[in-house]
C-alpha cells in the first residue's frame, strides 16, 4: 500500500478546506485502531491538532472537547472530580482520541452496566462531505431536538463526516471496585453462568467470558456495601476468587494487551445465546477469544489475514469489524446493504469523499 499524504489541519476552517480540496479523505485520530488504515489514494486528514477540553463544569456532569483530545487526558480530568466515562473507552492508554472512539464505535467491558459510547455522546460538530460544518445534538443530558446525528456518527468510521467536536455525559465514579474470577470445567458451564448473570438483578459493571471456562465479573459501588454484595455474588456463583487491586486486569482488557502482536483483532457483535455457536466454530481455529459485555460482543484475535474468519462469520449470519492488525477492508462476515444507510451516505457525502460502505 502506498503511503499517502497526511494533512494535520490546525483549526476547523483549515480542516474544512482540506476536505473540500481532496477528492478522497480518510479522517484519523491517533491511529490506534491500526487495521482501520486509509485506502489507496486517500489523503489522511489527522485531527490530532484539534485537541483540548472546551467546556467542563463538574457540577453539570457533561463535557465538550475537540475530537483530537486523547481519551486518557479527559479521563484524568474527570478522575480529579470523582467522575468517569463508564464505557471503558478502549485503547485509551495507547492514545485513542475521543473522535476516533466515537467513529470506530468501540466500547470496553464497562459498557455492560450503563451502555456504550453511543449512549454517552450528547452532541457533535462535524464536517460533512461538502466541507460544511454541521452541529447536531446538544450539550445537555436530555435532548430530542432535531435528528440525532451524534449517534449516527458512532461506528461511522469517518465515512459520513469528520467529527471535530463532541459533547458527552459522564457519571459519578464508583468509590470501590472488586473483581471476581470464576472457573468452570469447560466452556458450556461457564457460558451457562454468563447467561444466568445476564438475567439476574445483580448490578454488575462488567461480565466477560474467556475460553476455556473463566468468567470475570466486576462490581462497583460504595465501599461499605461492597463486601456484602461480593458475598452475595459468590453465593450465586457458588464460589469465585476475589481479585484485589483489579485495575490492571481490566486495563489489559481495554488495551487488548492479550492480543498477540501482529494478529488481527475483530469485533463481532453477538447475543448471549449465540456465543455458544460462535465458540464451537472458533474452537478448532488458531484464534483467541474473549466474550464481553455479558455475551454481546466477541473479540476475536486471528493470527493471519482473516478471510477464513470472514467466511465463518458469514455462515453464522454475523458481522465483524477489523480493529487491530494489518490494514484491510473494515467489515467482515455478512454484508449488509440496506436502502437506509446508502441514502444516509448520499445525503451526507454526496460525492463519496470519505469512501464507500461497506
Amino acid at each position: 500500500m502506498r503511503t499517502g499524504a497526511v494533512l494535520r489541519p490546525s483549526d476547523v476552517d483549515s480542516l474544512r478546506e482540506a476536505v473540500r480540496q481532496q477528492p478522497r479523505v480518510w479522517p484519523r485520530g491517533a491511529g490506534t485502531k491500526t487495521a482501520l488504515a486509509p485506502p489507496e489514494g486517500a489523503v489522511v486528514v489527522e485531527v490530532s491538532q484539534l485537541r483540548g477540553v472546551l467546556d467542563y463544569d463538574p457540577a453539570e456532569f457533561t463535557f465538550t472537547a475537540l475530537a483530537g483530545t486523547p481519551v486518557r487526558e479527559v479521563e484524568e480530568l474527570l478522575g480529579r472530580h470523582g467522575q468517569y466515562l463508564p464505557f471503558d473507552p478502549p485503547l485509551s492508554a495507547a492514545g485513542a482520541t475521543l473522535g476516533g472512539t466515537l467513529a470506530s464505535g468501540l466500547s470496553g467491558p464497562g459498557r455492560y452496566r450503563y451502555g456504550g459510547v453511543r449512549d454517552f455522546v450528547l452532541g457533535v460538530r462535524f464536517v460533512d462531505g461538502r466541507g460544511e460544518l454541521v452541529r447536531a445534538g446538544g450539550k445537555v443530558v436530555k435532548n430530542a431536538a432535531g435528528f440525532d446525528l451524534a449517534k449516527l456518527m458512532a461506528g461511522s468510521l469517518g465515512r459520513l463526516g469528520v467529527v471535530v467536536e463532541l459533547s458527552f455525559k459522564v457519571f459519578p465514579a464508583p468509590r470501590a471496585r472488586a473483581s471476581l474470577r470464576v472457573d468452570r470445567p469447560g466452556f458450556e458451564a461457564a457460558w451457562g453462568l454468563l447467561r444466568a448473570l445476564y438475567t439476574s438483578s445483580f448490578d454488575l459493571e462488567a461480565v466477560d467470558l474467556v475460553p476455556p471456562g473463566t468468567v470475570w465479573v466486576r462490581v462497583a459501588g460504595r465501599p461499605e456495601s461492597l463486601p456484602t454484595r461480593v458475598q452475595r455474588l459468590r453465593a450465586f456463583l457458588q464460589g469465585g476468587e476475589v481479585v484485589e487491586g483489579d485495575s490492571g486486569i481490566w486495563e489489559e482488557v481495554r488495551e487488548f494487551r492479550w492480543v498477540p502482536s501482529g494478529w488481527t483483532l475483530v469485533k463481532v457483535p453477538v447475543t448471549p445465546r449465540r456465543v455458544l455457536d460462535l465458540e464451537r466454530e472458533l474452537l478448532p481455529t488458531a484464534s483467541l477469544r474473549r466474550y464481553s459485555a455479558g455475551g454481546n460482543v466477541a473479540w476475536v484475535a486471528w493470527p493471519e489475514e482473516p478471510a477464513a474468519l470472514s467466511d465463518l462469520l458469514e455462515r453464522l449470519d454475523l458481522r465483524g469489524l477489523r480493529v487491530l492488525g494489518p490494514p484491510g477492508l473494515p467489515f467482515l462476515g455478512r454484508v449488509d446493504s440496506d436502502g437506509f444507510s446508502s441514502r444516509v451516505k448520499q445525503a451526507l457525502d454526496p460525492v463519496g469523499r470519505f469512501g464507500p460502505y461497506p
Binding site: D57, A59, F61, G105, R111, Y114, G115, G116, R118, D119, D128, E132, V134, R135, A136, G138, K139, V140, V141, K142, N143, A144, A145, G146, F147, D148, K151, L152, M153, G155, S156, R159, L160, P172, Y198, T199, S201, D203, R222, E224, R232, P269, T271, P272, A293, G294, N296, V297, R319, G320, L321, F331, D336, F340, R343, V344, Q346, L348, Y357, P358
Partner: protein, 473 residues
Amino acid sequence: MTEAVDRARVLQGLRALYPEGRILTRPAELAAYESDALTAFRARPLAVVLPETREEVVATVRWCHRHGVPFVARGSGTSLSGGSLPVPEGIVIALNRLNRILRLDPEERIAVVEPGVVNLDVSRAAAPFGLYYAPDPSSQPVCTIGGNVAFNSGGAHCLKYGMTSNHVLALEVVLADGEVVRFGGESLEGVGPDLVGLFVGSEGLFGIALEVTLRLVPKPEAYRTVLAAYRSLEAAGDAVAQVVASGLLPGAVEIMDRLSIEAAEAAVHAGYPEDAAALLLVELEGEEPEVEAELVELLEVVRASGAYEVRLARDEADRQRIWKGRKGAFSAVGRLSPDYLVQDGVVPRTRLGIALAEIERLSRKYGLRVANVFHAGDGNLHPLILYDGRQPGQLQRAEELAGEILRLCIRLGGSITGEHGVGMEKRQYLAEMFSEQDLEVMRRLRRAMDPGEIANRGKMFPVPQQLEAAAAS
C-alpha cells in the same frame, strides 16, 4: 376537476386497500383523529385507515407515495408536541391494531413488537421473567412504542438509563417512498454507523416503524423512594444540584411545585404534604445492600438541603401512590384550567434555580398561571401554562409565554425539547437552536428518505415564513 371530485377519486384508490369499517371518511368518524394531546391544534384528514398487518401499512405508504398524498402515522395520539396532528387533506395511518408482541425472549432480554403495542404492555409481558422496559413516559398506560420511537420519548427514569433511543436495538421500517428496510440487530453492540440512533427521534419524517426490537432490563432488586418537602421551589431546585453533586446516581429525581402538588393531591390522594411549596422526589434503585447504603447518604444530603419534612415510601403500595400522583400531575393540573400547554425545555442542571425563578417572573408578566412538574435530575422542565381558550387572546398569550421559556432554555445552553419532540409546536424554535446549515443537512437526510416530503409533512422543520421571522428577530 373540482375539489369534491378530486377527493372522491383519491379515496377510491385507497378504499380498494381496506374493507368497509377500516377506512374512515365521515366527519363524525374523523373528529377523534383531528387532534392529539396538544389540543390547541386541529386539522381534518381526508381519511383515517386502520391497518391490521404490516403489509397493509406498506401498501398504504406506497399508495400515498404514488399519489403524492401526505400521511401521518398515529398511535394513541398522546403527543404533547402535536407530532401526530393530521396533515389537512392527508391520510392518518392509525397503528393501534398492530399491537402484537411478536417475540419475548427473556434469556436474550429482548422484545420484538409491532408499533401499536402500548408501552406498559411490554413491561407487563416481561414482568413474569423479572424484566421490564425502562423508558416510562407519564402516558405509558396508553402511549405506543411506535410513537415512543418516533419522538424518542423519555420519562422519569432517564437519568440512569437514558431515553427510548438507548433501548431500541433494531428496526424494520417502511420509508416514505415505500421501500422496506431493516437495520440494527439483537446485540447491544453493532458495527457500522448507528442507524437505529438516527431513526429514533426522527419524528415520523423518514417513514413508519413496522417492527421494533427492544432491550429489556432486569427489575432492580430494591427501590428506596424519598419525598422531601420544601418551603420554596428554589430550595428544591438547589437540593437537586446537591444530590447530583454528592455522587449518588438515583434512578429518578423529580420536582413538583405547589400548584401541581395541590392538583395531584386532589386528583389521586397521593398523600403529599399539602402545605409544601415544592416536593422533591428521589428514587434509588439497585441491589438491596447498595440502596440501603445510598439511602443513608441521600437522607443526609436532603436534610441538609433545607427540607422541612422528609418521608420514605413505606412499601411498594406507598411507592406506587407517590408515583401515581407524579405521573398523573399533567392531567390533574389540567382540571384546574380549561386548557393548558406543556413545555419540555431542558436547561443545564446547575441552571435550574435561575430557570425556575425566570419562569415565575414570566408567569406574573403574562398573567397566566404556570405549574411546574418536571424531571429535575435531567434539567428537563415541564412548565404547564394554564389558559382559557375561550377568552380572546389567551391562547396567543400562552404561546408567547411558552416561546419565552424556550428561548430561555436556549440562552442557558439547553434544548427546546427533552422528550416530547419538536412536532408542530416548537418548529420555529428549531431554527433558533440550530443554524440554517445544520437544518439544511437534516433536510437533505429527510429528502433522501422522502423525496416528496409526504411523511408527517409540516412537522419539526421551521416553515419558510417562520424562518424569515426568526432571522429578522
